[in-house]
């Protein structure tokens, strides 16, 4: 893993490790969601419209 010279911030060793673990678990969730979306399409089930990022968020 190579850190570019722009990265002046200390990411923290522990933070890197835990992040990879959590992200791997959650990535499964995202992949599953996408996968189910495809299955639903095959079965002809209508899914909710994808959110348009060009709209401002209501933060």
């Amino acid at each position: 893993m190579h850190f570019s010279p722009h990265l002046y911030l200390d990411p923290g060793s522990g933070s890197i490790l835990i992040q990879v673990v959590i992200a791997a678990l959650l990535g499964l969730g995202v992949a599953t969601r996408l996968f189910w979306g495809t299955i639903k399409k095959w079965l002809g089930i209508k899914s909710k419209p994808v959110e348009d990022d060009d709209d401002a968020d209501d933060n």
Binding site: P5, S15, I16, A23, A24, D54
Partner: protein, 465 residues
């Protein structure tokens, strides 16, 4: 040292990032972009990310200016002039809702950046300012080119600056936002983990991003090289999952103001409708007369008088000591989409000091002034009586804080003052209308002194001399 300085100077807070820095010249704020950042800047502008983010108010817009303006010519690639922030504020001055908005804005920016091949290289709460009423990223150089497989270097900082304090405010005590004043790089995760109720371990987001994260930090504090080789890579999908997890954890955090000291202030005070309307009318008239460009409402509560001022003043900052009042005010700002009113937390008896490296990175309350006009409605008795500040010293303070002053004298017979004196000895012989006027005449010219209808109080319009 403020961003309004007229001397040529690199800003005291802008020194960590080798990609560039902010500096001020002849009262104008510029950002120098160094040659090392050339590719990243090009990607930001060409990919459409700059346009997408500025269009929805998530990134501060800028214009490119003559490169000859660079502060350090040898290193410079470009110089840009960002839009000015009307009033700089810091995360320890924000209400729960404001910090939450700042957190969600940061994650929203990261999601959009990832879609266009970029990623935030830091996630500091100090990179966010409120502009036109919205949480906006002001550090244009925060973006790096995303390389799939790389973890998010800003994850630690995001958890400390945003997730930890928000969780503490929502689930333990809203006053814990003040930890951000003490810990300049956000709340340490081990501290947050200790303070949060144990039931938070049942919440997946808080368990992983705070509790386990704190544990990993402790375990691998001195790991260094070992981590680099062991950690493995992170796909874009995994990164997206991480960001969305942080987002949903924060979305679910809520703090609803209820029952704090001032939350219901205007329902329980002794103002009759006539007195209230008279005060509003005077504030409105005098604002139109003074024509301030920047006004500060000290002790603004939920901002009812700040709003009156904002109708005739381009920018108003509404300060109050009560987190519930500031939160209520901010919710209304969001609801009404008000762009020229900024609610902030402030204890007048202990205003925000200058902190950070050499105590100069973040400006004190006073350093961000003076304001053109200051409102001090229904506060003087809290300062003079509850805090024992002698009237001449109050006059000094207000004279330094703003050019014009709209101040309400609350005399002893008033029921609110009587409450303050119930359990203590009255050691305030000079706290009378005459004493008040004598003290303030030393620093101000009194233009108006009007008795508020159906009350004992007097409203003054003063100009510092």
């Amino acid at each position: 040292m403020t961003t309004q300085t007229t001397t040529n100077k690199q800003l005291a807070a802008s020194f960590r990032d080798p990609s560039g820095f902010l500096f001020s010249r002849s009262g104008i704020l510029y950002r120098q972009i160094n040659r090392a950042y050339e590719q990243e800047y090009a990607r930001l502008m060409d990919s459409g990310l700059y346009e997408k983010l500025t269009k929805v108010g998530l990134l501060i817009p800028h214009i490119e200016v003559e490169q000859t303006l660079a502060e350090v010519q040898e290193a410079a690639f470009k110089v840009i002039q960002p839009e000015r922030v009307p009033f700089i504020s810091y995360p320890y001055e924000w209400s729960f809702g404001q910090l939450k908005s700042a957190a969600l804005a940061t994650l929203s920016i990261q999601k959009r950046a990832l879609k266009l091949g970029m990623s935030l290289k830091d996630a500091s709460a100090y990179n966010i300012q409120f502009v036109h009423g919205k949480a906006t990223l002001i550090d244009t150089l925060s973006f790096e080119i995303y390389k799939e497989g790389e973890p998010w270097v800003a994850y630690r900082q995001f958890c400390q600056h945003f997730l930890a304090p928000l969780a503490l405010m929502a689930l333990k005590d809203v006053r814990l936002s003040q930890l951000l004043r003490v810990y300049i790089d956000g709340v340490p995760l081990d501290l947050a983990s200790e303070l949060l109720p144990s039931k938070t371990r049942l919440n997946f987001g808080l368990l992983t991003h705070i509790h386990l994260h704190a544990g990993a930090q402790k375990k691998y504090a001195y790991a260094g090289e070992e981590v680099k080789s062991r950690s493995g890579s992170m796909s874009k999908q995994a990164m997206t999952g991480l960001i969305e997890s942080l987002e949903s954890t924060i979305q679910k955090l809520d703090w609803t103001p209820r029952g704090t000291e001032w939350g219901n202030y205007y329902d329980i005070t002794n103002y009759s409708d006539a007195a209230f309307e008279h005060k509003k009318q005077l504030v409105s008239e005098w604002t139109k007369r003074v024509q301030p460009a920047l006004a500060w409402d000290l002790g603004a509560n939920n901002g009812v008088f700040s709003r009156v001022v904002s109708e005739a003043c381009p920018y108003v900052v509404a300060f109050d000591i009560d987190p519930a009042a500031v939160e209520q005010n901010y919710r209304q700002v969001k609801n009404d989409k008000t762009e020229n009113l900024l609610p902030l937390l402030l204890d007048l008896t202990n205003p925000t000091p200058a902190i950070g490296w050499a105590n100069r990175e973040r400006d004190s309350f006073g350093e961000r002034g003076p304001a053109d006009m200051v409102l001090a409605l229904a506060v003087i008795h809290h300062l003079a009586i509850s805090n024992n500040v002698p009237l001449p010293q109050l006059a000094d303070f207000f004279a330094e804080t703003g050019k014009w002053l709209v101040i309400e004298f609350v005399p002893k017979p008033d029921s609110q003052v009587q409450k303050l004196l119930t359990s203590r000895k009255d050691i305030f012989p000079n706290y009378t209308r005459a004493g008040f006027e004598a003290a303030f005449k030393a620093k101000f010219t009194i233009h108006e002194a009007i008795e508020v209808r159906e009350s004992e109080r007097v409203l003054y319009l003063m100009e510092s001399c």
